[in-house]
Symmetry: C2
Subunit: 351 residues, 2 copies
């Protein structure tokens, strides 16, 4: 198979998601700035994977601080965390991971710098393993929402490539298959970065899960035809009320699902839930450069001087969401209550 992100000899190794599926290239990073820049450039993407990358980047940054004066170390550590935190704005897992590393530092300030560095490294490695376990648990919960014979539509890539492994939305699909269900996937290509066309197809084909790639604008057609039994997508940030930021186009899929009476599920770890954010209006939406819209490879698909827009995410209001699948179960109904309970339970389980 493949590994999305690994810690190897105090370096971070990632599969380069900008060149898949044509090339399978692994890149090695030995400093925190390059790790953060890899997040910005989408070499690694997907909210949970970004969280793990951020933690590993901070650990590498901390290991690299040669300063032995306590306050100078702290100043540099803070700089590393800030730089990492600014890599991308929408996925809350990034902030979550940075805050977790900062908290660990704060709680262990009394230790030697060597001990602190070792703890930060251990934490980052553990967060990767945790993420895989969480995805598997989440998958088992979500599989219950998948019919025995199901054609599942997904948007973007919320797979092994978007996490440390196994995936969230695709984790649900994998778990459904492992539970003996007959699953088939329709993958929206997900313009402009084509995560669906390039990544979801690639990883599902490796797992021999039947997948059909469609253009984003065909999803409604297949729902109306009755071809799609259920929609499962990932999330970059879920507000306290259930409003969910995910890859641009998710909102449209959700509206079409509602119109065609197709259940629409969001699958994400509780680390993607941002209880500090009351609703979707508070979620920052990343705007990326228009060149990513008008160029595919080196090929221009529009007049080179055309004006473009590239909101990288949209917010799906909670009312369109049938359920939110986390490692604690499937939240439904009044998300303000059900989600909060799950986040608190996940925190309690961990402590």
């Amino acid at each position: 198979m493949f590994e999305t992100i690994e810690w190897k000899d105090d370096k971070v190794v990632m599969i380069d998601q900008t060149v898949l599926p044509e090339k399978e290239v692994y890149l090695t990073f030995d400093n925190y700035k390059d790790v953060a820049d890899a997040i910005t450039k989408l070499i690694i993407r997907g909210a949970p994977a970004i969280g793990v990358a951020a933690a590993m980047g901070i650990a590498i940054g901390a290991l690299g601080i040669s300063e032995i004066k306590r306050d100078e170390f702290e100043k540099q550590f803070k700089g590393i965390c800030d730089y990492t935190n600014n890599a991308r704005p929408t996925a809350v897992n990034l902030r979550w991971a940075v805050e977790r590393m900062q908290k660990l530092y704060e709680e262990n300030k009394h230790l030697s710098l060597g001990e602190i560095k070792a703890l930060l490294k251990k934490e980052a490695i553990e967060m990767r393993e945790e993420d895989i376990e969480i995805c598997k648990t989440l998958g088992r919960h979500g599989a219950k929402a998948i019919p025995q014979n199901a054609c599942i539509l997904t948007h973007c890539n919320a797979g092994a490539l978007a996490t440390a492994g196994y995936g969230t939305a695709l984790g649900v699909i994998r778990a459904a298959q492992e539970a003996g269900k007959n699953v088939e996937v329709y993958s929206d290509e997900t313009r402009p970065f084509l995560q669906g066309a390039r990544l979801t197809t690639w990883e599902l084909m490796k797992d021999n899960i039947p997948v059909t790639m469609i253009c984003d604008n065909m999803a409604g057609y297949f729902m109306k035809k009755g071809k799609i039994d259920v929609v499962v997508v990932g999330a970059d940030r879920i507000a306290a009320n259930g409003d969910t930021a995910n890859k641009i186009g998710t909102y449209s899929v959700a509206v079409l699902a509602k119109e065609n009476n197709v259940p629409f599920y969001v699958a994400a770890p509780t680390s993607t839930v941002d209880l500090r954010c009351p609703d979707g209006d508070g979620i920052p939406i990343e705007e990326r450069h228009g060149d990513e819209v008008i160029k595919i490879g080196n090929h221009y698909i529009a007049p080179r001087d055309v004006k473009t827009a590239y909101p990288a995410f949209d917010v799906t209001p909670a009312k369109y969401i049938t359920g939110i699948i986390t490692e604690e179960g499937i939240a439904k109904g009044d998300y303000t209550k059900t989600l909060k309970k799950m986040v608190e339970k996940a925190q309690a389980d961990k402590e």
Copy 2:
């Protein structure tokens, strides 16, 4: 500017829409098979433009028949019409144009073959001129539905390139601008053939109409934000009850428009209305080759052996359509009555 299709020295000249906007190439055709193949290969596309191309192809085919035996001529003429009629299945304007040429032949069978050939040529040339006039009239009617300051979303290309000139949906936008309204256009890129990215942007930029190119999956986002005031699209076939076949993705735009209370208009000549087709279920949907989905230029955007689907059109049920703009006015309400009236009036106006 540019000409979409012209009759020149008993040949047909078309701008090659497969290579726009990177290259502005005009192709010359001197036999009917090549004209029909140009329709199949999307060198010319857009329902009204296909109609004109079909008529010109048949005229060229008829001119090329050297046979002087009456029944042999008729046999060959029928073959030309059949070949042309099979170029693409969804746009009814193709059948409409073929039947109009056949009717002309039937009505003038008593004339000499030379006279018949001359009449067919004259008819094809007139159909082109008529189409431009119809678009202008349709545009003036439609402009009334456009607010004084309007951001208009359109899907695919229903412009000068999709007609003999001026356009249907883009004709409405042009007419609104000519009427002194402040218009701005958001153009869905329209995967997989990218008519919006390549053609709509290109022709609007030539006319200095402000245009922003977005991915298909962003339309919902901008509607939800309140950026879009009105949607106007073209049509390939409108059933008697108003159900409208248009480029794949139109249905999704219509559902999103309804959900966000954005008026959704279809603009098409009455020749696009198929009264023989009671509703959308009767409209044949063209399935094209999946290679057109996974390749952009020579660049593969997905694993080369991935399964794909490519329905080239979808049907938007009449209930999502605010009004259907034709050269006879804007049909609303019970389309079974209002559309029929317009088609009959258009036929009467012509006779």
